[in-house]
């Protein structure tokens, strides 16, 4: 009890207590919330003050945060962004399919399937090991340089191929994690009913596996959306390239902010949509039954 009295006598504590009383809050939990809010506001205030009082702020504000810059570059960038959207929509479909094939190959058991398993492992190692920008430069400029008949020379095509090949490596591993997370008893039950390995995969394992890895799948999809900008290294005008063009014309960076805003604008609704899908699925299909 003596300790309580000492603390109350402390002026700092007294000040805060008065503040909280003034806010008419009750209980230990509410006090914690008030303190958290207060300290966050104070911290935010400090950051704002520190940034805007720094010596370089006026220059940074003029070059990065000029509204005229941002708004005037926006229409061109938005138009160029359509190409990014087309690329990632088309590529994602192929990636989801190719990665699934690789993951399934990797899961085939027994010595007879060893070459396929090895192939899948080598593929995922290479695809994830090589920098994406290299692959796109090699395919986008290198493949057409071979001058073989029938080989398309479109840079968007080859950038797309590059993105598909590389992301399939990452997504295959995500699928694999999902497949391995499904309890082996599920496969045992399915096989016991007479289902073949492929039927068990298709009807029992994969539906459960994929549901479990939707967050990391979305992660990779979002990464893909950003990497579509790499097609700009081949000269094609997409959002990032367009923002560079604008930036170089005015020597300011507002255009980059405009491009960034577009990328963020598609990521956020996509993430919320996925959260909603997962929650809805969970309401219906929670795993049930003993140790399954």
């Amino acid at each position: 009890m003596a300790r309580e009295g000492d603390r109350r006598a402390d002026p700092e504590v007294a000040r805060r207590s008065r503040l909280l009383e003034g806010l008419r809050l009750e209980g230990e939990g509410a006090r914690g919330v008030a303190i958290a809010l207060l300290s966050s506001l104070v911290l935010a205030g400090i950051i704002v003050v520190a940034v805007t009082q720094s010596a370089g702020w006026p220059e940074v504000r003029r070059t990065f945060f000029d509204w005229g810059d941002i708004s005037s570059s926006f229409p061109d960038i938005a138009r160029a962004f359509v190409l990014n959207v087309k690329i990632f929509l088309v590529c994602e479909v192929f990636i989801l399919v190719l990665a699934l094939v690789i993951a399934v190959l990797r899961s085939l058991p027994g010595p007879v399937f060893f070459p396929l398993r090895a192939l899948a492992v080598i593929y995922t190692d290479l695809a994830r090991g090589v920098p994406t920008i290299l692959v796109i430069a090699l395919l986008g400029f290198g493949a057409p340089a071979l001058q073989l008949t029938g080989v398309p020379s479109s840079r968007v095509f080859w950038a797309g191929v590059g993105l598909i090949l590389i992301y399939s490596g990452y997504v295959a591993e995500v699928y694999r994690a999902g497949i391995e997370s499904v309890h082996p008893s599920q496969e045992a039950a399915a096989r016991s009913l007479g289902l073949s390995r492929l039927q068990a995969l298709r009807h029992v394992i994969l539906p459960q596996a994929i549901r479990r890895v939707i967050p990391p799948l979305l992660n990779d999809f979002i990464g893909l959306q950003k990497d579509t900008a790499l097609v700009g290294t081949l000269g094609v005008i997409e959002a990032f390239n367009q923002s560079q063009i604008d930036s170089n014309a005015t020597f300011t960076y507002g255009a980059y902010l405009a491009a960034a805003a577009l990328f963020v604008a598609i990521t956020i609704p996509l993430a919320r949509l996925t959260d909603w899908l997962i929650a809805r699925d969970r309401r219906r299909h929670q795993a049930g039954g003993g140790f399954a």
């Binding site: 400090i46 010596a55 400029f141 057409p144 560079q244 170089n248």
Partner: protein
């Protein structure tokens, strides 16, 4: 009072501590050196320089002919700015001489194009890299007086359909390309207005490869660069033609940090070099070929 409240209070006290630290730090920030007052004297000792007694000149790497020449020496690829060969290298050394610097007192530094206009202190006294004067750009950095007027031109592969075009309008149906950071893209958009979306390449290497691969039909570059492209980079290519100069022309100048008083002195040097014919002589020496292409109206 519970342990939880104790922790909460400790966390709340953190910003107070931080405020003290930042307030202490803020007060001692020095103003940047770019805000120096204009000095009337252009004597070597009075110049506003990054490091005393030395002139630091920036350009991109690779620095392509005919703007820069000489045998490449690490870290410079394709050419060596220190050689004094090539138009921009020669102009830089001529200006340096006017300011009182010997050849040995000039150092070159690699400044990627994007870094030349980035905010914050510059890593160069001036940057010389075929940068075109534009009013928007002049709000962010300071340009010297121009040291050359350039024409845009177009490079094509010999024997391709575009190679028989004889006017600007005839170029409309083709896929054209330009390099990022140059005014060539704007030229394509405003003066040619092609029906197919043009391409813009972050590097010269990419632009050149795309032309070789016939992924673009024509590459729009300034005329001097076009000569390098056709003679060295893309075999079996030719300069289809140059475009008539705009009224006033497209001018290239050196880049300074805004408010750098060195600019005034460099402009004085340029004026001298123009007046005594040095500039013209250097143009003859390094850019003479750059007049011999047909004009595409």
């Amino acid at each position: 009072m519970s342990g939880q409240t104790r922790i909460s209070l400790a966390v709340a006290a953190l910003p107070v501590v931080l405020l003290a630290v930042v307030a202490a730090g803020c007060g001692s920030t020095k103003p940047s050196s770019s805000g120096s007052t204009t000095s009337a004297s252009c004597a070597k000792a009075d110049l506003n320089l990054l490091s005393a007694e030395k002139l630091t000149v920036g350009t991109d790497n690779p620095a392509y002919p005919p703007w820069f020449g000489g045998t490449p020496h690490k870290p410079w690829q394709v050419s060596d700015p220190r050689s004094g060969q090539g138009y921009e290298s020669a102009v830089a050394y001529a200006v340096a001489k006017q300011l009182g610097f010997s050849k040995g007192e000039v150092t070159w530094t690699h400044v990627p194009f994007n870094n030349s206009f980035a905010p914050g202190p510059k890593s160069f006294d001036f940057d010389i890299n075929q940068v075109s004067i534009a009013p928007a750009r002049a709000k962010i950095i300071a340009f010297s007086d121009p040291y050359y007027t350039i024409n845009q031109s177009i490079v094509v592969n010999k024997g391709t359909p575009i190679a028989s075009a004889t006017s600007k309008a005839a170029l409309k149906p083709y896929e054209l390309g330009a390099q990022l950071g140059t005014t060539s893209y704007q030229f394509i958009k405003d003066k040619i207005e092609p029906s197919k979306t043009p391409s813009v390449f972050p590097t010269n290497a990419g632009a050149v490869q795309a032309l070789k691969n016939k992924q673009i039909d024509g590459l729009v570059v300034d005329l001097p660069t076009a000569f390098y492209v056709t003679s060295v980079q893309v075999p079996n290519s030719k300069i289809l033609g140059q475009f008539p100069a705009e009224p006033g022309g497209e001018k290239v100048a050196m880049v300074f940090a805004k408010g750098n008083s060195l600019r005034t002195c460099v402009n004085k040097a340029l004026a001298t070099l123009k007046g005594n014919g040095t500039l013209k002589q250097l143009q003859q020496q390094w850019l003479a070929k750059a007049t011999g292409a047909p004009i595409l109206k």
